[in-house]
Amino acid sequence: MFGAGGGTTSYREMEETDVIFLWGANPRENHPIIYHHILKGIRRGAKLYAVDPRRTPSAQWADVWMGLNVGTDIALSNAMARVIIHEGLANRAFVARATTGFEAYRDAVEPWTPEAAEQVTGVPAAVIREAAVTYATAPRAIICWTLGITEHHNAVDNVLALINLSLITGHVGRYGSGLSPLRGQNNVQGGGDMGALPNKLVGFQDPLDPAIKARFEAAWGAPLPGKLGWNITAMFEAMERGALTGLYVIGENPAQSEADQHRTRRLLAGLEHLVVQDIFLTKTAEMADVVLPAAASWAEGEGTVTNSERRVQRVRAALEPPGQARDELWIVSEMARRLGADWGTPTAEQVWNEVRRLAPHMFGGMSYARLERLGGIQWPCPDESHPGTLFLHGRLWETPRGGPAAPISVVAYEPPVEMPDAEYPFQLTTGRRLDSYNTGVQTEGYASPLRRDALEMAPEDAARLGVGEGDGVRVTSRRGSITAPAHVEPGLRPGLVFLPIHGQEDVRVNLLTIDATDPKSGTAEFKACAVHLEPAAAHAAAGAAAGRP
């Protein structure tokens, strides 16, 4: 969109801004480090808005909770844009110097009056107006988002909708104003930066650009594939038709983390050759033909990782790996050698220096010595006299403007792919909690009084179903069925239920979720599917009466 895939804004800017929107983000539970920076901002007087169907712990802390219906974010942002434009609060000078597409966007949002948006989103029109005016008139404002926006079939459009708001108000490319996707896994940012992507080489370079391709082929002494590859979604589709039959899984657990678990496990089981490299024998590793025990990268290995403010930091070995577990760089290098790509056994620093040579525009100035001396450096950092880059897109404010104009995009509201109906009348949304991490492999081993792998439902729904706290509920979607204990949660509206993704041994949420993916991003709509609920006791009794085991 803007050229490179990273958040624009540094953590310290969150401490010095005037307005923060948490849009589909619950950092008080799921990004505690970032939340500490947000708290400092609040203490200095920043106003906090939480846009979320659930009244999460972050929403409880916010000045304003905009409790919209699941998947109505584009309706809300279009309406906010319309208010901003009609009130004369758009930054017309910035729009003229730095953007394209304003007129088409203005026409597209015209039908989205606050009243129309209230009908679709459930957020009162007055609240929509106030939020829009506050965002537009704030001296500095930051929009943070995460999976509430991107775990939808129209993920990319949802993100573009938020970018639009920043572009029509000039809240990007300057200190204290910007766009912050809060990255989840500790180095998911780095994975993309390093070219572990089907369509980018390290530093977001285009594998199909002839000059870039030639440079990499010369450096690596081997031809590069002549076409882009498949992302995870497309790889699963290739497994379905028998085209992709060999898979190397490194430190991921798709047998538990992917949507539509029955389908995922069927596809993994059908592979001709599955190799898993991990630190634990996960459910995915149990299915493998070969399991390779790895050192834990953050404590038993050397290297670097990159966080949500583009800061590359060193990680260092403090422990020896257990037993015969080996360093990951050694494992991958040994695999490569046996496949005819012999690059020796480089140290982490040697690998990093190759990264710097191949992507100097991003990492050229980040020697290990400088990273250690400065405590981490934010990309881009092209040479050793460069301090790193605090915020992105300042070029949009330069005279003349640096680089191309940023496009404002017309995006249309679309409800989630699977909405509740007579047969499956409840909407299920999923998410994470503070005490646990993803599929629970690394966190289930410690006790926590907070842990609660339960189906959360509104008090009205619990009463109507005749279900009390802790009672078993059978939850069924078109794809599968599970039983979970109920938890009555006043922060939910009637008709909406919530399951955490963590309790994968007992509460296998991904048996229910739908694999409806955004074709542009490959993310599945984990945030919305339709389910049927019944008390587990009633289900069991009916089963006994019908002769079911």
């Binding site: 994975g191 060999g246 024998l281 990268s297 290297g303 991958v332 289930e444």
Partner: protein
């Protein structure tokens, strides 16, 4: 095979494991045997189908250096661009 789980959760993997045939159980192996089998299986599919037949799911909790080498392995070893780093959940 050693227990993979104790009463505090999963225990660390400490030895390579291989499966003798699709219906068999995982058993301990040396690093050489495990790596030979792992790479051998990928090489067979690469020769039969080309890089389209192979893929890598890289690790979003591992280092930049590991992810860079995984991308290099995909393109120069697997001859495939089918690599993703689990950034979609």
């Amino acid at each position: 095979m050693r227990e993979s789980r104790n009463d505090r959760g999963l225990v660390r993997l400490t030895e390579p494991l291989v499966r003798d045939g699709k219906g068999g159980a995982l058993r301990p192996a040396t690093w050489d045997e495990a790596l030979d089998r792992a790479a051998g299986g990928f090489a067979r599919i690469r020769e039969a189908k080309g890089g389209d037949g192979l893929g890598i799911f890289s690790c979003s909790k591992s280092t930049n250096e590991m992810n860079f080498l995984a991308g290099k392995l995909a393109r120069t070893g697997f001859r495939s661009a089918n690599i993703d780093s689990c950034n979609r959940t």
